[in-house]
Subunit: 242 residues, 2 copies
């Protein structure tokens, strides 16, 4: 948590179904090394002696971790959800171009913001499911060698937190997750109302979420966007009545 | 190794008396992740099953590592020797102010250079001895939380190599270690010749090495410096003869 007067940017580390308890312990240590404390574990492996040993003096982080059954539970309340993958984002979805940002680019996106950001790390063997990736607003990839790009998960966490630990929070309040969700509801309702082709709808919805997701929407921006959609709706309704 | 036409900046990773084989394996993996291959181990622990397991697909890096008995053997031929410590450099030597650079600052220092740089990581428990620190031209410290600054060694390597992997080599040839050594011989001879106080000599020698060390001397600069010292010597000799 970075506090600057009353402003803070909270980084939440989310591990999705980690397989090795040593890695989870190492992640806790890296978090404490860089001053982060909020850890959420989605359906993790057993956490016993080895996890404690690898956490070293960060056992408190591990003990304070929240365990949840699904990724959806882990990202509640976060304004931005960032998925970290070892492969460039473009590859995992043929239908949508999903740009992958480097940790440094993510840092630039978040500078001056205030709110909660969830940073996700996938399973050591299979990363994220397609469904989980769809929940991400942005994809982050650490630039690695083509010869052997697959990093140890706790190394990836260390590198990402090293980069994100220097962010200066600002007074640009990130939109609340609930407001963003209401905006999407509005927007998708609008798609329905204008008779958007059913076979394209799902893809377009996802694309719209990606576009707004990676733009890191501020509170006031979401209000403006919702105002725009409301106004369009009102005009459509009026036209229909005539 | 970063090649740009014929230019290259070779980063050599040196682990000084690593205690845990799992860490050594993890370091090899991080090296391969970021495209580095030259690993030197100073009097390491046994490297067996766990080292191999943690190296994952970087077993070749581990197998290709050079094992040497002392740090002096590990830094031969390197133009610059950088020691990585978890504590700010200023603390470990009361007599000399030794500034510690962040990985990003080290990267800036090395940009555009060509030659061999040795990056040292100390023992997991006690880091470097004072004698070993004296062999370093620069000290690098990863900015961490005051609450718990001690990183896992392989995490520190991952963060440092993440930062250093992006360096663009240039045509500024770093001075050869042997030329730098000859320059110091000259310079220290000069101190003797001018009757420099004996009780200050050791400290001043070390300070001079630190100053020139962290300036990352180029080949042509060392030649110029040696020329300056030679010219001073010649003038001193002439004055003496008169």
């Amino acid at each position: 948590m970075i506090h600057l007067n009353n402003m803070s940017l909270d980084i939440r580390v989310v591990l999705v179904e980690p397989l090795y308890q040593g890695n989870v312990g190492s992640v806790a240590r890296a978090m404490k090394n860089f001053g982060f404390s909020e850890l959420i574990l989605v359906n993790p492996c057993e956490l016993e002696v080895e996890a404690r040993a690898m956490s070293s003096h960060a056992w408190d982080i591990l003990q304070g971790a929240t365990i949840v059954p699904t990724l959806k539970d882990a990202i509640g309340g976060a304004s931005i959800v960032i998925g970290t993958t070892g492969i460039a984002g473009v590859r995992f979805d043929r239908h949508l171009r999903v740009p992958a940002y480097s940790p440094r680019e993510i840092k630039a996106h978040l500078s001056g913001a205030e709110g909660t950001v969830a940073v996700l790390f996938g399973r050591e063997d299979h990363g994220f499911s397609r469904e989980e990736l769809r929940m991400c607003d942005m994809i982050m990839t650490i630039p690695t060698s083509d010869t052997y790009p697959v990093m140890n998960m706790s190394h990836a966490v260390a590198v990402v937190l090293y980069e994100l630990s220097g962010i200066e929070a600002g007074k640009n309040r990130l939109a609340e997750a609930s407001d963003i969700s209401l905006f999407y509801d509005h927007l998708f309702q609008l798609l329905d109302d204008i008779g958007y082709p059913v076979h394209k709808k799902e893809k377009t919805r996802l694309m719209l979420k990606r576009i707004f997701g990676r733009s890191v929407l501020l509170e006031r921006e979401v209000q403006t966007l919702r105002g725009v959609v409301r106004r369009i709706q009102r005009n459509l309704d009026r036209d229909k009545r005539h």
